[in-house]
């Protein structure tokens, strides 16, 4: 079990109202990702749920029980920290066993659980090592192992992969997703990595200045962003925003078109632009253009598109994928 409900939760640090008021429903077994720009309160929200920070107002319920005032350990949650927070002077075995030892479980049961967790996480050969003798990925797995053995009702991850290199991040991403499929335990995952958010989440919560901008499945957020902020935040490279005459012709204050929804051509098109920078990745080509009468625009072509700095190219937005926003920044539904 592991359903979590936030009821008008708020947090104030001194003068700063970091989280004004948040309502959120997390269902049992869901993989929820918190994304948002740096400083928007993702970590704070996670720490409020963990109990490491006291709420300034509102109510936190876990499995229907009010835990707003409960101590962190009493909430039955496990947290994986960005710095791993392993105990440096204990062996891997002792690190993983620590929560069980604190729960006064007997030694043979502890051994069995530690061995089992080590097997799942490929740590069996490293059980007697100290954390300082492990690689970043291995440390991360130990931190996850320490969380698993407690059989928590939900896992909390705060940017667990941000200290790893790109390749390892990819592997660990798969491992965590795999773990979620095996355990089917609720997971809350904080990240500012687009790919992590889009690939891992059942549900993405987009935060901005301590407010929830939108909650939904990754594709839902990609296709139907509720407002300018979500439209600009989800998707990489970012959506292009066009105002002025073109937007007005579409009856909007602002029009948005994703780089992948711009048709590129060397012969003809609606807009004409000069290539500033061309990024040839093989599988994709990203063109950063200066479009006449509109300004800077990014376009993506699948495969190789032979254009270089200074070339003139034509673009045609795919009108069916166009996003329109009103003067409050909200999406205009067709």
């Amino acid at each position: 079990m592991g359903s979590i409900t936030l009821n008008k939760v708020s947090k104030v640090f001194g003068e700063a109202n970091v989280i004004p008021s948040i309502d959120l429903e997390i269902n049992n077994g869901e993989f929820v990702v918190f994304v948002g720009p740096s400083g928007c309160g993702k970590s704070t929200l996670l720490r409020l749920i963990a109990g490491l920070e006291d709420v300034s107002g509102g109510q936190i319920m876990i499995d229907g029980k009010d835990v707003t005032q409960a101590a962190p350990a009493a909430r039955g949650l496990a947290m994986v920290f960005q710095s791993y927070a392993l105990y440096p002077h204990m062996s891997v075995r002792k690190n993983i066993a620590f929560p069980l030892k604190m729960a006064k479980m007997d030694q043979s049961a502890i051994d069995k659980k530690v061995e089992a967790a080590a097997k799942v996480l490929n740590l069996t050969d490293y059980l007697e090592r100290k954390p300082s003798q492990l690689s970043g990925g291995q440390r991360q797995r130990v931190a996850i192992g320490r969380a698993i053995v407690r059989e928590p009702s939900a896992f909390l991850f705060d940017e667990p992969l941000s200290n790893l290199d790109a390749a390892l991040r990819g592997t660990m991403r798969l491992e965590i997703s795999d773990l979620h499929n095996q355990l089917k335990t609720t997971m809350i995952y904080v990240t500012h990595d687009q790919v992590e958010a889009m690939t891992m989440a059942d549900k993405i919560v987009v935060l901005n200045r301590g407010n929830i901008e939108q909650v939904g499945s990754p594709l839902d957020l990609y296709k139907n962003p509720r407002n300018l902020f979500v439209a600009g935040f989800i998707g990489s490279p970012h959506m292009n925003f066009v105002d002025g005459a073109y937007a007005q012709s579409k009856n909007a204050k602002m029009a948005g078109i994703r780089p992948e929804h711009l048709g590129l051509s060397k012969d003809s098109g609606l807009w004409t632009g000069t290539v500033k920078v061309a990024e040839h990745l093989g599988a994709d080509t990203f063109l950063h253009l200066d479009v006449d009468g509109i300004g800077p625009v990014t376009a993506r072509a699948g495969g190789e598109f032979g254009a270089h700095h200074g070339d003139r190219v034509y673009l045609t937005p795919d009108e069916s994928k166009l996003h329109r926003f009103d003067d409050k920044g909200l999406t205009i539904r067709a």
Binding site: L52, A73, L77, M79, F81, S83, A85, H89, F98, P99
Partner: protein, 290 residues
């Protein structure tokens, strides 16, 4: 090649200071060793020449000898115990966010700036004195007899005074170590269900091990030679109750004018210090390499 050159250069540049330190250490040690085998008494200049082991025998058969060694160890052990335990406790308190933190910290550190004889005199006349001392006043207030600390518990009194002087040092070192403890580790332990005591035992104490070792080693070096505090308070008495090895040497050398005998005592003190250092390094030295 470059590193080879740098190394050679570094050695050459360091040589003068190493040499100076070596001379600084070897010359007094050699002289002391030399004097310890000589008849050399300032009161009797006619008696000179090789004395064999007489000086050692003289010092060894001094009725205060074994007691002074015991007292030396008691002072070292007692002060270490008080300063390490007290230092950890105070450091834990100072690590909490409190009002006027800066001032409190400076106040805590201040005893370290008081010169040993001055500190001892303050304790002797203003705190422990049965007539004028604060402790005496407190006793009288509650209707008890004032205690004459230096007559009744001379060694204990010395330990208290020296511990008071060294407590700031221990606190300072331990506090800096405590502040370097990673906050996320504490939070992780909290989430793992460790209460304050468990966090202290499994997280804080192992983290402090190295700092505690440094405190013990440095203090031991200085505590083996405690002298000024004894001189201005008990003068080694009553009897030999508060005479340690350093004070016994002083007594032989300057009160007995016996340079030879005092030198023999000095060599014995060096041997004792090395024995203590040997056991210390075996006990806690492994904390230093990680």
């Amino acid at each position: 090649m470059a590193t080879q050159n740098t190394k050679t250069l570094a050695r050459a540049m360091m040589a003068p200071s190493v040499l100076l330190l070596l001379v600084w250490m070897i010359v007094p040690l050699a002289m002391t060793l030399w004097f310890s085998f000589q008849n050399y008494n300032l009161l009797d200049p006619t008696q000179t020449g090789f004395a064999g082991l007489f000086n050692y025998e003289f010092f060894y058969t001094d009725p205060a000898f074994f007691q002074s060694i015991w007292n030396t160890l008691v002072i070292v052990g007692g002060v270490l115990l008080i300063t390490v335990v007290g230092g950890i406790a105070i450091a834990l308190l100072l690590d909490q966010p409190i009002f006027g933190q800066g001032i409190v910290r400076i106040l805590i550190i201040s005893p370290f700036f008081v010169m040993p004889p001055v500190a001892a005199l303050i304790w002797k006349n203003m705190i422990m004195h049965p007539g004028y001392g604060v402790l005496g006043d407190i006793n009288r207030f509650f209707g008890f007899e004032p205690v004459d600390w230096f007559a009744r518990y001379p060694l204990f009194s010395i330990v208290v005074i020296v511990a008071w002087q060294w407590l700031p040092f221990a606190t300072l070192i331990l506090l800096t170590a405590l502040q370097s403890l990673d906050g996320e580790q504490k939070e992780a332990a909290e989430m793992d269900g460790a209460n304050f005591l468990n966090r202290f035992i499994y997280l804080v104490l192992p983290h402090l091990a190295r700092a505690i070792t440094v405190v013990i080693l440095i203090q031991t070096i200085f505590l083996l030679g405690v002298y000024a505090e004894i001189l201005v308070t008990t003068n080694g008495g009553p009897g030999y109750a508060s005479t340690n090895l350093a004070f016994l040497i002083y007594r032989t050398a300057l009160l007995g004018y016996d340079v030879g005998g005092a030198s023999a005592g000095g060599i014995i003190a060096v041997v004792l210090a090395n024995i203590v250092a040997f056991f210390l390094m075996r006990a806690v030295g492994k904390n230093l390499d990680r």
